[in-house]
């Protein structure tokens, strides 16, 4: 069955340079620098990436950063807490807009 997402495609990520090499090279160079040890550890960055992957609901990224966080020594509890951070921000982003709704209610109500 044909699907839009194929796990095998994740391995082809590097091949995006076939159609635009210099931009791809710049992107991957930037990407690698972003995830290197820095003021944040590579492990912390991996957990952030896992949370963002869930916020963006990117199956490739979820695959990649589930494995990566495990390989950085994170456990399931920490990983699920990271996903809850994503969920809380997503949920909060909806809910905080309700202040706009409440403003409008006030504006047009007697």
């Amino acid at each position: 069955m044909k699907t839009y997402y194929n796990p095998e495609d994740l391995k082809k990520f590097g091949s995006i340079g076939e159609l635009q090499k210099s931009m791809a090279d710049k992107f991957f160079s930037y990407y690698n620098e972003v995830f290197a040890e820095g003021a944040l550890t590579a492990r912390e960055k991996s957990l952030i990436a896992l949370a963002v992957a869930h916020a963006l609901q990117c199956p490739y990224c979820i695959d990649a950063y589930t494995t990566d966080t495990l390989e950085k020594g994170c456990d399931e509890e920490q990983m699920m807490e990271a996903v809850h951070v994503a969920a809380a921000i997503r949920g909060g982003a909806s809910l905080v807009h309700s202040t706009q709704m409440m403003n409008k209610i006030k504006e047009i109500s007697m």
């Binding site: 495990l70 390989e71 950085k72 456990d75 509890e77």
Partner: protein, 351 residues
């Protein structure tokens, strides 16, 4: 859980395992491990000076861990007898470059001649490092094992113990229900006699291996986290943490195949091939002895029945130092496990 052997599972046959490793290798023939060594000028792989004598005292164990490359368990009865141990002692006496005797299993303590063997080694070579790969739960398995911490201490034995994680969920899923709690109790008993305590001179090292089809985290980072968590939560101290990569052998191979992870795991190992790790593989300074006295390049080759390539010298009774020191080490695709990333050995990362 029964051993693969007791289940008469096809993967309890080393020829079937080797067939999987060769025929289902994602790298194909060109991606065979020996080609990777050729490309960096390391094939055939030769030994360095012999430093470690690793003796597998038997496949008998009180645990049946899901990832065990030995296929050890309570239903395995193959153990080293005293005559074979005596042959080991002859070698330990003669080979002066040896600085470490590493005792493994199964649970080596279940061998009825274990204590005799340790005392004999200590008497023969007062300065040599003796390592026991203790699964921890054995100390609590029966009252007769309860004094093992004191026994280790009296004989200056270094204890190396597996603890896959500092939580019950991950530890028990790999090593069996209730193993985490018992392991902590055993660690506390070892701490109580001085093991893992600064200044005691009694070394207690832990081994981490991933609970699944992924590579271990960085050894230094994980060690710091293990130290903090085990101390804060349980008051347990230890010296070093060794990270070990799971090799595609026996039960872990069975797991990889059944879970559909075999190809992707092997691809990951291939992609992570590190020439520096290849130079530091443990088989170069180690000889591994099976329960029946046969000689291997490492414990993994032992389980795959790949004996040392020394014609006429594959058993302890035919020990030939010269031939062993110039042999070509047997390699196959399982060896990618020791050369991936930061490298892996019985002493942890090698890079």
């Amino acid at each position: 859980m029964k051993s693969l052997k007791a289940q008469q599972h096809s993967l309890s046959d080393p020829t079937v395992e080797l067939d999987v490793l060769e025929q289902r290798h994602p790298g194909g023939t060109e991606g065979h491990f020996h080609h990777f060594l050729e490309r960096i000028g390391m094939y055939p792989l030769r030994p360095t000076a012999l430093e470690i004598f690793q003796a597998n005292l038997g496949k008998m164990c009180n645990q049946t861990c899901k990832h065990c490359h030995v296929d050890a368990g309570p239903d395995r009865k193959e153990i080293m007898d005293r005559d074979t141990m005596s042959l080991c002692l002859d070698v330990i006496r003669r080979e002066r470059s040896l600085n470490c005797v590493d005792l493994t299993g199964g649970a080596p303590e279940m061998n009825p001649d274990f204590r005799w063997f340790v005392e004999e080694i200590r008497a023969l070579r007062p300065d040599i490092k003796i390592i026991v790969r203790c699964n921890l739960t054995i100390i609590l398995a029966n009252p007769r094992f309860r004094d093992l911490p004191e026994f280790y201490k009296e004989n200056g034995v270094e204890v190396v113990s597996s603890l896959p994680y500092f939580t019950a969920m991950k530890t028990d899923s790999q090593r069996g229900e209730g193993v985490f709690g018992k392991s902590l109790e055993a660690l506390q008993l070892l701490n109580a006699v001085g093991y893992g305590k600064e200044g005691s001179g009694l070394t207690l090292n832990l081994v981490y291996n991933p609970s699944g089809a992924f590579l271990p985290a960085s050894q230094a980072g994980l060690e710091a986290e293990f130290k903090k968590k085990l101390w804060d939560r349980f008051g347990v101290a230890f010296n070093s943490l060794f990270t070990i990569t799971n090799l595609p052998i026996s039960r872990f191979l069975d797991y990889l195949i059944n879970s559909g992870n075999y190809e992707s795991y092997m691809e990951k190992l291939l992609d992570s091939f590190n020439p520096a790790a290849a130079a530091g593989v443990m088989c170069r300074n180690t000889i591994s002895v099976g329960w029946d006295g046969y000689l291997y390049d490492c414990d993994f080759n032992q389980m795959l029945d790949l004996k040392v390539a020394v014609p006429g010298g594959v058993h302890l009774r035919d020990w030939d130092s010269q031939a062993l020191s110039t042999r070509a080490i047997e390699v196959n695709n399982h060896c990618f496990g020791c050369t991936a990333g930061a490298g892996s050995s019985c002493g942890g990362a090698t890079v």
